[in-house]
Assembly symmetry: C2
Homo-oligomer: 177 residues x 2
Amino acid sequence: MATGHMFMAMSLDGFVAREDFGLDWLMKQKTEGEDHGHDAFMASVDGIVMGSGSYRTVLTFDAWPYEKPVIVMSRTLSPDDVPEHLRGKVTVSALAPREVMQFVSRQGWTRVYIDGGLIIQSFLREGLIADMTVTVVPILIGQGKRMFGALDADIDLHLLESKSFPSGLVTSRYAVV
Amino acid sequence: MATGHMFMAMSLDGFVAREDFGLDWLMKQKTEGEDHGHDAFMASVDGIVMGSGSYRTVLTFDAWPYEKPVIVMSRTLSPDDVPEHLRGKVTVSALAPREVMQFVSRQGWTRVYIDGGLIIQSFLREGLIADMTVTVVPILIGQGKRMFGALDADIDLHLLESKSFPSGLVTSRYAVV
C-alpha cells in the first residue's frame, strides 16, 4: 500500500496555524534563499491528501500551488464545491484514512503527502505515516491549530537528519519506528 | 534584575512529562556519551526556580540532583514540607514570578534556571525568560504536561544554535527577542 509522508512547519509550541487558520507568523519569517527541502519533497510524492481546513486556506492563496493531484478529505464538502478551474486537480472524498490510502494505491500512487493538522493526527493514529519532515519555526504563538493530537499509544521516531537555517528554522526528518 | 533561563526536554509533540509527571519516555532514550549541555548550563546559573510538580518528581529520584540552591514556587507547600536533609538547599516561596526574580536578585543571583512546565509558562508570559535551550526528543506521547501554554501575544525567538545527536535528540538554543 502507498505510504504517507508529512512535511509541515510548526511554531516551537506546536501549532501549524492560528485558530482562524492564519499563517502570518510563518509567512513573516525571513527565509529567502533557503532550501528547506519542499521542492524535493513535492517531487517525491504522487499526490496530496489534505483536510478541508487546509484546503480552504490554500484556496485563499493567489494561485493554486499544487501541480500534483489533491484529495480533500471531507464529509461536508461535495464535488460541486470545487471551483471549475480546479476540476480534475482536486477530488473531494468522504473515505476514512485507510480507505483513502487503498483508493490512491489502486491509482498507482506509492508516496502520499499527508497535509493538515487533523488529517495528520488521524493518519498517525492509524499507522499510515512512514516519515515526517518537521520544520520548527522560531516563535511561540500560544494557541491555534495543533500539528499533533492525542494518541492511543506512544509513537517512537528515528531521527534521519536535522538541519538549521540562518532564518532560525530547524528542519528535522523522522522515520516512524 | 536576574534573567531567567530554560533548559528543557520535550517530546516532538510538546510534552515535558506524562499526565502523572512520568518521564519513562525520556529516560528510555539511548543518550549515553552525549553531551546535551546540561552540566555547562547548570554551572552557568546561580540557582533554580521550579514548581511544586517538578519538585515532587525530583523528590522521587534516588538522590537530590542539585548542588545549587532551589526555590520551589508553591502556595500550598510550607517550609515544613521540606525534608530535613534538604533544609538550606530548598526554599519554598509563595511569591509571584517577578517578585521571585527580585528576591533572588537581592541575594546576588544573576542567572536563574526556570524549570517545570507551568512555571515556565508564567515566567514566559511575564517576559522573565531571556533564553531557552529546548531538546526535542524523538517520540510522540500524545498527552501529558505541556512545555508551553497560552500567551497574550506572540513571542519571537532568535535561534542561537541547533545540534542533533546520534540518539535522535535535537537541542536548539533560542534567545527571546
